[in-house]
């Protein structure tokens, strides 16, 4: 056990020495891999932020049914009962024209303008919540509502959300593909970096083998190097994404304030940063495994 630990300690120190021996090329390698990781990760973070724009309550499929101004309580109850009886309808909520106006005042910041109106222009409405997020069902319920009297208009509220969700879905797939392609690029860069290290040290490897070093002993510093390089690249990617988001946030917050909201791009969570560093470490290590195994793979004897 002591020998095993000593080997690992020796390998770790060798790996740090090798990295420090060529600081410029080490930094450039880390930066190249870091940029390759930052692209999909930054994309993922942006999409994650966009997804946050969709409030959970509005992500559900809803139909707004606007009633004629002549509708009385009996009409409202009648329409409510008919809609509630339909298959796929979870609940029907009445929103009075006064409540709607009050809500409009607080949510849009147009209180002064609304105050200037002589009369409340908004109609009474019924908000129909569906039991499942199904576009066809929402269209069907809206169509049925339009045939009822005294309904003036019915609209599917969640259409834009569904479009946004579809857009986010496309974005996520694109990020996934980009991650896969750039993951391969990271693997290739790690493979190549370690291959160059192996070639630079081929005399040492040859002598070490001849004096009784096992392949595991020879391989280990290179694997540490690949892993460390991957971890540092993950750190570089975090720094790049953090800097980009911080820069973007200055403009985004100004834009959001013009719309009366306080939206800012959230920086990645600590667990997401940890996952990135872990992933990049594994990729760096894997590149090193492939590279060193290719070199050491042959039987130490010549045939």
């Amino acid at each position: 056990m002591n020998v095993w630990l000593r080997h690992h300690a020796h390998s770790a120190s060798q790996c740090v020495k090798r990295l420090a021996a060529a600081p410029l090329s080490s930094c450039l390698n880390v930066l190249v891999i870091g940029v390759a990781l930052a692209l999909p990760w930054g994309g993922y973070t942006l999409l994650d932020n966009l997804a946050g724009l969709v409030p959970a309550s509005t992500a559900r499929a809803e139909v707004s049914v606007f009633l004629s101004r002549s509708a009385d309580k009996k009409d409202i109850d009648d329409v409510s009962a008919k809609l509630r009886a339909r298959e796929g309808v979870k609940s029907v909520r009445f929103v009075s024209r006064d409540a709607a106006l009050s809500s409009l005042k607080t949510s849009t910041g147009l209180g002064d303008v609304i105050q200037a109106l002589r009369d409340n222009p908004l109609p009474d409405a019924l908000i129909v919540e569906l039991s499942r997020n199904d576009g066809d069902l929402a269209d069907e319920v809206a169509g049925a509502a339009r045939t009822l009297k005294p309904v003036e208009h019915a609209q599917v509220d969640s259409a834009w959300i569904r479009r946004l969700n579809a857009f986010l879905g496309v974005g996520r797939t694109a990020v996934l593909l980009l991650s896969a392609v750039l993951g391969l690029a990271v693997l290739a860069v790690a493979f190549n970096t370690i291959r160059l290290q192996v070639l630079t040290r081929r005399d040492e490897i040859e002598v070490s083998r001849l004096v009784g070093a096992t392949d595991a002993y020879i391989r280990r510093p290179f694997l540490y190097l690949g892993g460390l390089q991957g971890a540092l690249s993950g750190g570089a990617a975090i720094a790049l994404v953090w800097a980009a988001l911080s820069l973007l946030n200055r403009d985004v917050s100004t834009l959001a304030s013009l719309y009366g909201t306080a939206f800012v791009l959230r920086l990645p969570e600590p667990w997401q940063c940890f996952a990135l560093v872990l992933g990049s470490t594994v990729l760096g290590w894997l590149g090193a495994v492939i590279s060193v195994s290719k070199y050491l793979g042959a039987d130490p004897r010549q045939s």
Binding site: L210, G212, R301
Partner: protein
Amino acid sequence: MAAGPIIAFSRVTKRYPGGGEALSEVDFTVQAGEMVLLTGHSGAGKSTLLKLIAAIERATSGTVLVGGQNVGALGSRGIPYLRRKLGIVFQDQKILYDRSVMDNVMLPLLATGEPGKDAARRARAALDKVGLLGREKANPVALSGGEQQRLCLARAVVNRPVLLLADEPTSNLDADSARALLQVFSSFNGAGVTVVISSHDASALSDMAPRILMLNRGKLA
């Protein structure tokens, strides 16, 4: 190592792809504690024979036993453990010029998991035995030809091998340096280490090795 001959070759043939036979049906044994001089003209198969003992090459046919272990049957994982029992002085030296004399000698010890301090102590002892103590921090480039060979010898013996192999260790040395180096080999043999030295020039060494094996075109004469 097991009792019996420390080296046993039985009908060993080595044929290189596209080339002729380097060794042909070679049979011999070396007992523990012997000092053997392997001689023959250039291309006689001396280096090949030593490489077969150290599992650097694989015999085409026949059996090579080292310490009772069949070298040909060793898997790639077993070879490092065989080599740790051997000390090898290579014809092309295989010195690492990007590190100090001390680091070169410590290499076999670190590879076997020896703690750094113990490795340094043993490396200094090995350098002392070959007369290089005081040159630990020097770069091997700064050493003379004879000193470089002694460095190789120190690296070969630092792991306290039971069998010391040397391939043409005196080929680039003047007569005095060669004689001094052979005295060191002889002293290791006196301490119980089996020594096999190959040289194309038997006259310089024959008075030091009680047993001479002569190779001629891959066959033992």
